[in-house]
């Protein structure tokens, strides 16, 4: 059963990976993805990430469960932050452990692709000159990425 957390606080990716693999000696592959806040050429002061409490956790848990049903995983952790996040800070973590590397890679990618399009988070840029940027627009390429996996929609 995967671990899912939605929080404002930063996370320790290495500690999450250690927890995931501790004592499980059948693990042959551990893939860790960390999404970071880019500085947009030095213009960004922070990203403000809004979320829908309750639904955010539920949607991440749903894609985590779908990944666990699809690949023979030995561990899966997803953590997503909300609130104000400065350039260079971590936003999201997905860590997947499996006996074989392809399973771990595909599970981590699938969880990320679905997180982007199905988990209720919205980003807006705040710039160094004080201006509030527009809400970040969803990219159709993200929908395409998610469509690669054909996970059922929520009921």
């Amino acid at each position: 059963m995967g671990t899912v957390r939605v929080q404002h606080e930063d996370f320790d990716a290495a500690a999450e990976a250690r927890t995931l693999s501790a004592g499980r000696r059948g693990i042959g592959a551990l893939v860790t993805f960390v999404g970071l806040c880019r500085d947009e050429g030095g213009r960004l002061a922070a990203l403000e990430i809004e979320h829908y409490p309750g639904m955010a956790e539920a949607e991440i848990a749903r894609v985590v469960a779908a990944a666990e049903a699809r690949w023979p995983l030995l561990g899966l952790t997803a953590v997503h932050r909300h609130g104000s996040i400065a350039p260079g800070e971590q936003i999201v973590l997905v860590a997947a452990a499996a006996a074989h590397r392809r399973d771990a890679f595909e599970a981590a990618e699938m969880v990320m692709d679905y997180l982007k399009t199905q988990a209720p988070f919205w980003k807006r840029a705040r710039f160094i000159d004080g201006s509030a940027g527009a809400w970040v627009e969803a990219k159709s390429s993200d929908d395409d990425d998610a469509a690669r996996w054909s996970v059922p929609e929520s009921p």
């Binding site: 639904m55 999201v92 997180l115 199905q118 209720p120």
Partner: protein
């Protein structure tokens, strides 16, 4: 039922949430969006492109044909940009 709003839907409407009481002829999510868009200027702006709006009932995604009868919490928001 409780309506909750996020991101620019929230900003355009000017509130986070409210109780709404649509009439009986509002059956589906699509009907509800059309009804909401007639509630005032902010609503008209928020729902000006109904196809862009995502909707969740009881915190699960639903499509435009979903029935709203019995819903306790219905959320309206733009396409998501997490990750």
């Amino acid at each position: 039922m409780k309506a909750v709003y996020f991101a620019w839907v929230r900003e355009r409407i000017g509130k986070d949430e409210e109780v709404i009481d649509p009439p009986a002829e509002v059956v589906t999510v699509e009907d509800l969006i059309a009804w909401m868009s007639r509630r005032g200027e902010g609503y008209a702006y928020a729902f000006e492109k109904p196809r862009v709006i995502r909707v969740a009932i009881e915190r699960a995604h639903v499509g435009p044909d979903a029935k709203i009868a019995g819903a306790r919490e219905i959320a309206f928001f733009p396409p998501m940009t997490g990750g």
